[in-house]
């Protein structure tokens, strides 16, 4: 147990370095630029202590649970040898973690207001709600599909840049014909889909798969799942905008 406490203490101290830039920058702008006193300095200091503790406990949990879990899943699926179930898992993980993501719900609601203000859809609450829900499911499906394609790429060992470059060309082409109001939303939706718990799990899964499959390099083949999950939603939302806006 003392070893556990020492490890945790070291992590808490390590987070000092992670948070130092924030403290320095906030202090600089408050003192030198805005020249205003900060109210409730004590409360802010207490909050920072919570941030440090939380970050340290999270990183410990990451190494104890999320990384080993992602890797053991990769190993178990490889041993099972069923492509169907691996793909079903990849899709389920992508879809399930995205559909209830709070950041995505917020973006979808905002998108509905933009489109209503634009006159692309009706302004009543029911229309906006169904628009936001449809958009949310579109993004969730796109993340599910991303992980399916990404995992399949790892199995095959295909170079990632063909996929990503083709994906970008697709995005550029579809942007040209998409309604203007959807473009900003579409581009942002790629960034909000990957949450703090999904990222370590998906990364460990990819690296784990690349390590257990013969002839794959974990560095070259294992990374890249997140890249798919932030590219494909852009394409799907742009197409959603074309279909619904037309």
């Amino acid at each position: 147990m003392p070893a556990e406490i020492v490890a945790m203490g070291r992590l808490v101290l390590g987070t000092l370095r992670d948070l130092a830039p924030i403290v320095v920058i906030v202090a600089f702008f408050q003192i030198a630029v805005l020249q205003q006193p900060v109210d409730d300095l004590g409360g802010i200091a207490l909050g920072l202590v919570f941030v440090m503790l939380g970050l340290a406990v999270f990183i410990r949990g990451l190494e104890m649970a999320l990384f080993p879990l992602g890797e053991s899943l990769a190993g178990a699926f490889a041993r099972k040898g069923s492509l169907f179930w691996l793909m079903a898992f990849a899709f389920g993980l992508g879809f399930g973690t995205t559909v209830a993501e709070p950041a995505l719900i917020a973006v979808a609601d905002e998108a509905a207001s933009v489109m209503a203000a634009d006159g692309a859809i009706g302004t009543d609450a029911a229309t906006r709600d169904s628009y936001a829900t449809a958009l949310r499911y579109t993004v969730a499906v796109s993340v599910g599909v991303s992980l399916v394609i990404g995992v399949f790429r790892i199995l095959k060992g295909w170079p990632i840049h063909y996929f990503i470059i083709a994906g970008y060309l697709g995005v550029v082409a579809v942007t040209a014909v998409a309604p203007e109001g959807i473009i900003g939303i579409a581009y942002d939706s790629g960034g909000v889909t990957t949450s703090t718990i999904t990222v370590p799990l998906v990364t460990a899964l990819g690296v784990g798969l690349a390590s257990v499959i013969k002839g794959r390099n974990p560095m070259i083949d294992g990374f890249g799942l997140i890249a798919f999950a932030s590219l494909l939603p852009i394409l799907f939302v742009l197409m959603f905008g074309i279909v619904v806006g037309a």
Binding site: I44, V57, T175, G191
Partner: protein, 280 residues
């Protein structure tokens, strides 16, 4: 006061559990229904999962207590026309009057990215997988620099009202060209780093900045122009991470070349660092 704090803490715990629920359901479902295997070291995994939930809850609680209110107030103040104009007429403001806004966007983008938990996770994994060839800290600095640049450019875009897609397409072109010349090992990681940068810490502050700016700059609509900062923040890190690898490759190539040129013996420092880099 004490009670309100505890209530807020429980609220956040419930919210985190709610976010984790679908992931847990899928993991348990596949483990029990499809794989039908025991999870190795189940106890450790369960304790670690509890750590993840508790850690995220404390982290969010601290952010909401300390960083978010302060950061959002600062974003509002630094985009406030009264602050920017310094007494000049509003209509006479040009893009260069917003220099404090750009600088703040740059600085806050850098600082929040360094504290981003999902980036910490990916960089730890990258360091482990590459056997130390990719340093966790160097990768995080490169990504943070990319986010910082993207927010400075993104706020400039909102102030000038230029269309987002021009920036995105130009960025994509740079990414494609860099991909051709970058060490192959870094490419997938660089692509990934675009997606991991924007989550818990960065998004709320960036949204406050974008919305604040779009609602105060004359002629901008918060609905149409407030978007797009996150998109740029997922694009620029790809460029800086590949750039970081390219600079690293260039430096080691030059070292190699100068060593050949002078025909000297092996530099002991260099030998040591390569040996270290190879240890798994």
């Amino acid at each position: 006061m004490m009670q309100a704090t505890l209530l807020q803490l429980f609220d956040l715990l419930a919210q985190t559990l709610f976010d984790v629920a679908p992931i847990a359901a899928i993991l348990v479902g596949f483990q029990v229904g499809v794989l039908r295997q025991k999870v190795p070291q189940l106890r450790k995994v369960l304790v670690g999962s509890a750590y993840v939930v508790i850690g995220l809850t404390l982290f969010l609680f601290g952010l909401e207590k300390a960083l978010f209110p302060l950061g959002k107030t600062m974003a509002k103040q630094l985009t406030d026309p009264a602050f920017i104009s310094g007494g000049k007429a509003l209509s006479s403001l040009v893009w260069s009057d917003y220099y404090w806004t750009y600088l703040f966007a740059f600085a806050i983008g850098f600082a929040t990215t360094i504290a981003e938990p999902s980036l910490i996770a990916v960089s730890l994994k990258a360091q482990q997988v590459s056997g130390g060839a990719v340093g966790a800290w160097g990768l995080r600095l490169a990504v943070a620099f990319g986010v910082a640049l993207s927010l400075a450019v993104g706020t400039f875009r909102i102030v000038t009202g230029t269309p987002l897609y021009l920036y995105m397409i130009a960025g994509y072109i740079v990414v494609v060209i860099q991909t051709l010349y970058t060490p192959r090992m870094i490419v997938p990681l660089a692509y990934d780093s675009g997606g991991v940068t924007t989550s818990t810490v960065t998004v709320p502050l960036v949204a406050a900045l974008g919305l604040g700016l779009a609602s105060t700059v004359p002629g901008r609509s918060p609905l149409l122009d407030g978007f797009g900062l996150i998109a740029l923040a997922s694009l620029f890190p790809m460029i800086t991470v590949m750039g970081y690898a390219q600079i690293g490759a260039y430096v080691s190539q030059r070292k190699q070349r100068s060593k050949q040129k002078y025909g000297g013996g092996q530099d002991p420092l260099q030998a040591e660092s390569t040996a270290e880099g190879l240890t798994p």
